[in-house]
């Protein structure tokens, strides 16, 4: 694009009138959450704390601190390495600026582990239009990762990641709202896990197979489109349906669908959700390769296997501050508990601890995800 054309586009953008109708900044709120994941020999727990506060009428700041404390003896770990513990610490800072119907947002996220650092810079613009019935959002994020190894201080690999997103939220009727999201993500660099291995047939080994490091392509581009609709039922309850189609250059294709029902009862709100996800495997995934270095790229991460996952969720919330009365500086307050039961069936990834070669069962994962959190609006 010529510079003159770019300037023309920018001038056009800046010359557009600002509507007299106003957009809305997110509510001021604070959340303190404890999360715990248990399943497949892995326990991960920790806190997450979020604080959001407006400054004046057009600025809102948000900060989040998040911690994962990992204790892992997963199927990947016990078959090729030793159980381990580690921490992942993440914090983020963001700002939203409202001008007329336009909200501009910037966000920075930093995630640090002993052997993995990730930084993400995000920018988005949202525009409320057509009498605030429609919200269009354009977003971009750039991420940089540094991958290390805990057993080799000289090991250092990098990769970069870019997200491009377009979102459209539409009020369709007085009872129905829907949102459509497109997201493209591109990765470039060292994308495999430095600790994981693939296995291959090895007649010289007592078990009949041996392991070697996995090797992924150095690029990946994915596209996802998601459609979600939420409907207000006549007796004050809500029903939400969601569908997502996913495809990427590693030849994974996925379909995800969920149905959620929300039912308030006095100060309580109950929620039930069922989520279904089905995917094909990556082109270079094999549970066992025919020989060492059999293909240019090779992986045995179970997440890249063809799989089907089912999640059943139950959640209950209790409003301990009546939103009609408030309490001191607080407008609203709620205590929440949720349990997600996750069941994953892997269609090619086998549990090599379950039998000898040729008799191994397909691996299955059952996990419970607990969340307890308190939210305040002020």
């Amino acid at each position: 694009m010529k510079l003159r054309q770019l300037i023309t586009y920018l001038a056009f953008f800046l010359a557009l009138p600002v509507s007299a109708l106003g957009g809305v900044l997110p509510d001021d709120r604070g959340d303190v959450l404890y999360h715990r994941y248990e399943g497949g020999g892995v326990t991960i727990d920790g806190p997450s704390v979020l604080v959001r506060k407006q400054a004046g009428k057009s600025l809102s700041f948000v900060g989040n601190y998040y911690l994962d404390m990992v204790s892992s003896a997963s199927i990947d770990v016990i078959t090729t390495a030793s159980p381990y513990t580690e921490e992942r610490e993440q914090w983020s800072l963001g700002m939203d600026y409202l001008r007329g119907n336009t909200t501009m947002s910037v966000n920075y996220v930093s995630s640090v582990e002993s052997d993995f650092d990730a930084s993400t810079y995000a920018f988005s613009v949202s525009e409320d239009m057509f009498g605030d019935l429609t919200t269009l959002t354009l977003s971009y994020a750039y991420g940089e990762d540094i991958v290390g190894r805990s057993d080799d201080s000289t090991f250092r690999r990098e990769n970069t990641r870019q997200h491009y997103g377009v979102g459209l939220t539409q009020i369709l009727t007085r009872n129905l709202i829907a949102t459509l999201n497109f997201e493209t993500v591109t990765d470039e660099g060292f994308l495999n896990n430095p600790y994981r291995s693939v296995r291959y047939l090895d007649p010289g080994s007592a078990r009949g197979f041996s392991f070697e490091p996995e090797l992924y392509p150095e690029t990946r581009t994915s596209n996802a489109v998601g459609l979600r609709a939420r409907y207000f039922l006549p007796y004050r309850a809500a029903l939400e349906a969601e569908y997502r189609f996913y495809t990427d250059t590693w030849e994974i294709e996925g379909h995800t669908a969920s149905l959620t029902y929300v039912h308030p009862w006095g100060p309580f709100t109950f929620e039930g959700k069922f989520r279904y996800h089905d995917q094909t495997g990556a082109a270079f995934f094999q549970d066992i390769f025919s020989r060492s270095e059999a293909t240019n790229f090779r992986g045995r991460d179970k997440e890249l296997s063809p799989l089907t996952s089912y999640t059943f969720r139950g959640k209950v919330s209790y409003e301990f501050i009546d939103p009609n009365k408030g309490w001191g500086i607080f407008k609203r307050g709620s205590l929440n508990f949720s349990l997600d039961h996750l069941f994953v069936e892997y269609h090619e990834f086998r549990d090599i601890t379950s039998g000898s070669l040729g008799e191994e069962a397909l691996y299955e994962l059952k996990a419970n995800v607990y969340q307890v959190f308190v939210s305040f609006w002020y």
Binding site: S92, M129, D132, A224, E303, P323
Partner: protein, 79 residues
């Protein structure tokens, strides 16, 4: 290369034209006073952002798909 830029320019112009339309006086078919049900907290598309971000991270670490449901943070902590 020139064709690619021209295509990008056309997409950008279309988006800007759509943005420009927002300033026109389109009559909303759901009036502001008819949005009380949509304003009910049970209708919030993301009423619990901390909880949503966490559970999306759980899914992204255990499935091959990503995106289209909102962004999760970087890093993994998931082996």
């Amino acid at each position: 290369m020139k064709t690619k830029f021209a295509k990008t320019g056309r997409i950008l112009l279309a988006l800007l034209a759509f943005y420009g339309l927002s300033a026109c006086s389109v009559e909303p078919w759901v009036k502001p006073y008819e949005r009380d049900r949509l304003a009910d907290p049970i209708m919030a598309l993301d009423g619990d952002p901390v909880s949503t971000a966490y559970i999306q991270h759980v899914y992204e670490a255990r499935e091959g798909a990503r995106g289209g449901e909102g962004a999760a943070g970087g890093g993994c902590g998931c082996n």
